[in-house]
């Protein structure tokens, strides 16, 4: 037999793998890897480096791996690449991160990792990092000292502040900051005097946060990845979890094995779809017709949960009218391309297998009507009575590891931490928590009006630079842009972004990597790069998608000359003259201690920052998660059940003596009241089957008590388990407490603090304690969810065609919004652009959509610099259907130009696949470093360019923004593809 032959001449290439290559025919997107080691021999003989050694601390070539004197330490941290929050044990020897071990105890990931998580140790070595501060001089990056960089920058910022006002600087913060840093960032920009700040959530889930919060109270994932094990059916619409949240699939596939049904609705046959029981292909951007098409069958067959709708939902009758009138199966098929039988089957499966859950991600959010799409999903779940139920809910998978936390307490242009907004009362609340004078902050702003006016969004900062001055709603145009932990290539309209980058006076990039921002603009000077430390080089908390908060230990000291973000913020604050305010030092009190570290800079103590967050963030229950409780959870992860996330027995943390009995893992917010009140956190929001002190709840009273003569409060008998008030009720304040006769239950000190306050502003937590602990009532009241959000442009979600639509006939039927004049300080266009481009699909007939790859994260600068990941995806590509490729004479794996209506053209490899339908193309968005065909390698600082560079899809994307949140449209635009 062949396999036993020994002579070389007779050994034939018979490997199993090569057979596969032949059998499959087309080469997939990891083709180069397959070639390596598989095809015709050559690839297996890699022309690459020898085995590398990362054990620099102990580099002798013989002897044991563990030096006798080498101190081995285990540091527990959390993967920084998505919101699943997979725990990692880092093995550190002599300050070097030498190994990475799985944390089987973690209830979130049980030791599992995707490629990104399995690679995080490399960030602790980071050969391609930005190593020291740099400044662009004559078109070349030159090394400078921290002191020079900080003093020159401070001078420039203060000069701009003086000449053009504080609103002339735009501060892009980050969802990769931990909670403490994100929170300090918002505080820092406030003290600089502007609301012109934002972070990744804007272009990720801003439409979700706004849409969902306005429907029922909080803008977050209602349940958890783990809770999906309790679902009997899950529908993914606009989520490719297998690539974007891989470890979440552990829970879903487990659920599937125990009988749950899985449905995937998407324009692409994704890797998630490959695991589904039913896959439905919709046209990109037609989610509302599909969802309302489902509702049509639900109403038609009486599958809606009538009691639930009566007790807990406002306005479903209006939805019903709209659905039955406009979205009959014929209209649905016309708009989204799905025949009646398929829609019916999905509706039936969801209705017959309750509790059923809906998962969505960027496929729904990143549209000009994203806010309406996500509400349509909420409405579907309300109709089925699936919200507030274990196994149900809207499982909205967030993106970055701490995008939830940064949304909750970080740099948002329209709100102070905790969704308090920007009203005078909110400022006064936070001024008190910060231990600073309200009038002093006001003095930092251009005016009180500017202080209370939402800033521009990161999706539009380029218009803040380029738009005519008389059309923008602030004094000066933007003159400086600070990219503090944010990639540029994740935002649309690359051509104009480059222009904006070349127009501003000053660009500052603060990041572990230079990012594409360093290489994109053609500038000679006025660019500074500051090396920030990664999350493995500092401690702090981060909030996973399921609202669980995890504490990261510091794994190693900051590499090279990098510094933690909060230390850089403090340095700026100090140089700008508000160090004391920044750390709340006044009247002999200081909220946040500052320590000097060995490297010579000063750093605010992270635990103190979290305690300050605890002291002020009552609205969303970020008050109970003290550093001590969080750390105890991290040390005792095995105490928590994987299905419920709960600890149900006495487990005492050895270090603190803290007993975790009753807690949910990571104290998922809301964790109300003071840490001493010991609220266990809320695993599933709005769950009336549990007592509020057991994590139960109900929908929030946040929209008044009555609308159009109809009560908005929950019906009698619908309340959280064991509540003393069994009717609906408004939120608690001092007046209600007194009316109910509960005021006396507050201690004297609490009464003093709570007088004139409501549950959100009572810094003693007394109102919350009495309402929850003594009376089982929810401090935010008990009301109905809103199917109709009357304060939004489309109170009932309405389908509107994308601005660049492939269907002129449908544009006529479902036109976009009217143009807006001053929206987030900028004119914002809808109809006028859509009208102008009504027939553009003649020239650009293919839908262009974008999304993720499992190996990379976000703009990809960090992950594309990691050789273990970079090797797996070496080139950007466009997925194109065989039919479209054939008609264009395009062969597989050849260079093509993707041209867009903006005049941009990008050069990528063709990937011919049925993953996309004819008429649709897909390009992953993680690449950058090429500009319309040219490699920008020379424009990066020496040695700090990512290993893999490629064309950014957003160089080619077009105009279009959500009508509530300014979310950019990335999921549906148009292009043409031609052979290169």
């Amino acid at each position: 037999m062949l396999l036993t032959k020994k002579s070389a001449g007779q050994v034939q290439k018979s490997t199993f793998a090569s057979t596969i290559n032949r059998a499959v025919g087309t080469v997939d997107r990891r083709a180069f890897l397959k070639r390596s080691g598989m095809v015709a021999g050559a690839g297996a003989f890699a022309s690459q480096l020898p085995f590398s050694m990362m054990q620099k601390a102990n580099a002798a070539s013989s002897g044991p791996m563990v030096a006798a004197d080498g101190k081995m330490e285990i540091k527990r941290t959390v993967c920084t690449h998505c919101s699943v929050g997979c725990a990692v044990d880092a093995v550190v020897q002599n300050g070097v991160w030498v190994r990475q071990e799985p944390v089987f105890d973690s209830p979130l990931n049980l030791g599992a990792h995707c490629a990104k998580g399995a690679s995080v140790r490399e960030h602790g070595h980071g050969e391609h990092r930005l190593k020291y501060p740099m400044k662009l001089v004559n078109g070349k990056y030159q090394r400078i000292s921290w002191d020079q960089a900080m003093s020159e920058l401070t001078e420039k910022f203060l000069a701009l502040r003086k000449s053009s006002g504080p609103d002339s600087v735009y501060w892009v913060g980050s969802s990769k900051h931990n909670n403490e840093q994100a929170y300090l960032m918002r505080k820092f920009v406030s003290m600089f005097g502007t609301n012109n700040t934002d972070h990744q959530a804007r272009i990720c889930h801003s439409t979700t946060v706004a849409g969902v919060a306005n429907t029922w109270g909080y803008g977050a994932m209602t349940n958890s990845y783990n809770d999906m094990q309790n679902a009997k059916c899950a529908m993914y619409i606009g989520s490719n979890a297998a690539e974007a949240h891989p470890v979440s699939m552990l829970h879903m596939l487990h659920a599937k094995e125990t009988g749950a049904k899985m449905i995937v609705v998407d324009p692409r046959f994704t890797r998630t779809a490959a695991k589904a029981d039913q896959f439905v292909r919709i046209r990109s951007g037609s989610d509302i017709p599909f969802l309302f098409g489902m509702l049509y069958h639900i109403f038609n067959n009486g599958w809606e949960d009538k009691k639930y709708l009566n007790d807990r939902v406002f306005g479903m009758d209006k939805i019903r009218d709209e659905v039955m009138k406009k979205w009959n199966p014929k209209a649905v098929e016309e708009a989204c391309g799905v025949p009646e039988a398929e829609v019916y089957k999905v509706a039936e499966t969801m209705a017959m297998n309750r509790p059923s859950t809906v998962v969505w991600c960027m496929g729904q959010t990143q549209h000009t009507i994203g806010n309406a799409m996500v509400r349509a999903s909420c409405i579907l779940q309300l109709a089925l009575g699936n919200v507030g139920v274990s196994g149900g809910g809207t499982n909205i998978f967030r993106g970055h590891d701490n995008v939830q936390g940064a949304t909750d307490v970080g740099p948002n242009p329209d709100s102070l931490p905790g969704y308090y907004g920007l009203a005078e009362g909110s400022w006064k609340h936070w001024a008190k928590v910060w231990n600073v004078d309200y009038d002093w902050i006001k003095g930092q702003y251009a005016s009180k009006a500017m202080m209370e006016k939402p800033g521009m969004t990161v999706s539009r900062w380029i218009d803040g630079v380029l738009e005519k001055n008389e059309l923008i709603d602030q004094d000066s145009n933007l003159k400086a842009i600070v990219y503090w932990g944010h990639a540029p290539n994740s935002q649309t309209r690359g051509l104009e972004m480059k222009k904006a980058m070349e127009t501003v006076e000053l660009m500052v990039i603060i990041d572990p990597y230079p990012t594409a921002s360093a290489a994109m603009p053609d500038r000679k000077d006025g660019v500074y790069l500051l090396p920030a430390a990664t999350q493995f080089e500092c401690a702090g908390s981060c909030t996973a998608s399921n609202r669980s908060i995890q504490w990261r230990e510091k794994v190693i000291e900051p590499l090279f000359e990098s510094r933690p973000d909060h230390a850089i913020m403090y340095d700026f604050a100090k140089r700008m003259g508000f160090a004391d305010q920044f750390v709340g030092k006044r009247d002999g009190k200081q909220n946040i201690a500052v320590v000097k570290v060995a490297a010579g800079y000063e750093e605010p103590v992270v635990e103190d920052v979290l305690r300050e967050i605890n002291k002020g963030t009552w609205t969303i229950g970020y008050t109970g998660q003290s550093p001590e409780r969080l750390k105890a959870h991290m040390r005792n992860m095995d105490a928590f059940d994987v299905r419920t996330l709960r600890c149900t027995k006495d487990v005492i943390d050895k270090e603190t003596g803290y007993n975790m009995n009753g807690d949910y893992f990571g104290l998922p917010w809301p964790c109300y009241g003071t840490p001493e009140m010991k609220h266990p956190g809320s695993p599933n929001l709005y769950d009336t089957s549990k007592h509020v002190m057991e994590g139960g709840g109900n929908f929030r009273a946040n929209f008044g008590v009555e609308r159009d003569g109809v009560s908005l409060l929950a019906e009698d008998g619908s309340h959280s388990l064991g509540a003393d008030i069994t009717t609906g009720y408004p939120e608690f304040d001092h007046v209600l407490m007194k009316k109910l006769g509960w005021w006396a239950e507050l201690t004297e000190a609490e009464q003093k603090a709570a007088e004139g306050k409501n549950w959100k502003t009572d810094l003693s937590g007394g109102i919350i304690r009495v309402a929850m602990k003594n009376h089982g009532c929810h401090p935010f009241g008990n009301a109905k969810a809103r199917a109709v959000v009357w304060n939004f442009p489309d109170p009932v979600p309405i389908h509107r065609e994308p601005i660049y639509s492939p269907r002129p006939d449908l544009v006529a039927k479902y036109p976009s919004h009217d143009d807006r004049k001053a929206f987030w300080r900028l004119p914002t266009l809808y109809k006028s652009v859509q009208e102008k481009n009504k027939d553009i699909s003649k020239q650009f007939p293919l839908i262009l959509t974008s999304g993720r790859l499992v190996e990379y994260e976000g703009g990809g600068d960090e992950t594309r610099s990691n050789p273990w990941l970079a090797e797996l995806q070496q080139e950007n590509f466009v997925e194109i259907n065989p039919k479209d490729a054939e008609s264009r004479g395009i062969k597989n794996n050849q260079f093509v130009w993707v041209q867009s209506p903006t005049g941009a053209k990008i050069k990528v490899k063709s990937q011919i696949t049925e993953r996309v339908a004819s008429g649709t193309t897909f390009i992953p968005f993680h690449f950058a470093g090429w500009w319309q065909g040219a490699d920008l390698l020379d424009k990066y600082p020496n040695g700090a360019a990512p290993i893999v560079r490629g064309e950014a899809v957003n160089t080619a994307t077009t105009y279009g923004y959500d009508s509530v949140t300014m979310m950019q449209e990335t999921k549906t635009t148009l292009c043409q593809v031609v052979a290169a």
Binding site: M1, L2, L3, T4, K6, S14, F16, T19, I20, R22, A23, P102, F104, P107, L110, G111, Q229, L250, H254, T258, D641, V642, R643, T644, R646, T648, K649
Partner: protein
């Protein structure tokens, strides 16, 4: 022969069906003697001191982490 058969199986099945070719004789018929350096056995490691039983138990214990049913099965759910 064998190769053709493999290819057919692959194209024909949605699920990977290699096991369908069980009749292949894979016996290595040549008697081979290892010519290299001697290796230390795993159980001889300092951690186990030659106690093979201890080593096997450690591995078996560790294997449980690959079975999430041990922590998620409804029957093991703690209320």
């Amino acid at each position: 022969m064998i190769r053709r058969k493999l290819a057919v199986t692959l194209i024909g099945c949605a699920v990977f069906a290699l096991a369908g070719c069980g009749e292949i004789d894979q016996k290595a018929k040549v008697e081979k003697v290892y010519a290299g350096k001697k290796d230390t056995r795993a159980a001889e490691d300092a951690r186990f001191g030659g106690d093979r039983k201890k080593w096997e138990t450690t591995l078996a214990e560790r294997s449980k982490a690959q079975n999430e049913y041990l922590r998620t099965d409804p029957r093991t759910e703690t209320k």
